[in-house]
């Protein structure tokens, strides 16, 4: 049986603190495998950090809605937001970088692509819908 939960968030750091507490509670309730919980939590934190930093330029009332679906061996999330177009699948995240001299950031998208089994994205009616699926290895 799949458990589904949703939460709405404003794009602030304190909301991410609330979000992480909520995620930890739902993961515990669902008894999801710890590795999958860690993967999905990391992906969602990177998504929220991107939204807070870049996602809502010019948006009057920024809002994000996160739905998660959890079952043994499977964890997924859909993040819907009313920010700017941003398809993380289009961004290359090379690991061959000069860590001592280059941009000290930019690891987030690489982490999402590493941890997620699948990523889907749609832009519809002024909303972004990003789906992240983390599945246990067979």
């Amino acid at each position: 049986m799949s458990l589904e939960y949703r939460i709405s968030l404003k794009p602030t750091a304190s909301e991410v603190t609330r979000f992480n507490a909520w995620l930890d509670e739902k993961f515990a309730q669902s008894r999801l495998e710890k590795s999958l919980a860690a993967d999905l939590k990391l992906c969602l934190n990177e998504v929220m950090a991107n939204l807070i930093s870049y996602g809502f330029a010019g948006t009057v009332e920024p809002l994000a809605l996160v739905e998660i679906r959890l079952r043994p061996g499977y964890a997924s999330a859909t993040v819907a937001d009313n920010g700017v177009y941003f398809d993380i699948r289009e961004f290359n995240s090379s690991k061959a970088r000069d860590l001592m001299n280059g941009d000290p950031g930019g690891f987030g998208i690489a982490l999402i692509k590493e941890r997620a089994s699948r990523i889907n994205y749609q832009r519809d009616g002024g909303l972004n819908r990003l789906e992240i699926v983390c599945e246990a290895s067979p």
Partner: protein, 112 residues
């Protein structure tokens, strides 16, 4: 809520103990004090035992500090991260410029 404690050790080594999640909120809380530490200390060991979560924004704080310290030929060493935090350090490649060791004595030895 992220907590940062500083402990001066023999040999001019500064131990920085972090406690809490190093997410966007936690990284924001320690960014400035960590920059100050990196600007004034050449041997810094960071106790990751109680860092309960590590996101890329926390990596950014560590990289900035490691760069500042290495410019003076000093060293920043992280010790005893959780398995999850260590996985993040490895997969971002940050462990190539920041030494990660298992315990405090190893961290002290690595930066002395």
């Amino acid at each position: 809520m992220m907590r940062l404690d500083q402990i001066e050790l023999p040999g001019d080594v500064l131990k920085v103990k972090l406690t809490g999640p190093l997410d966007i909120a936690g990284a924001g809380e320690i960014d400035m004090p960590f920059s100050v530490i990196a600007g004034h200390n050449d041997k810094v060991i960071v106790d990751f035992t109680d860092v309960t979560f590590l996101a890329s924004i926390g990596i950014r704080v560590l990289v900035k500090a490691a760069r500042a310290i290495s410019r003076r030929n000093g060293r920043l060493v992280v010790f005893n991260p959780t398995e999850d935090a260590h996985k993040v350090l490895r997969s971002t490649g940050v462990d190539t410029i920041i030494m990660v060791v298992t315990d405090e004595p190893s961290a002290i030895a690595a930066c002395s």
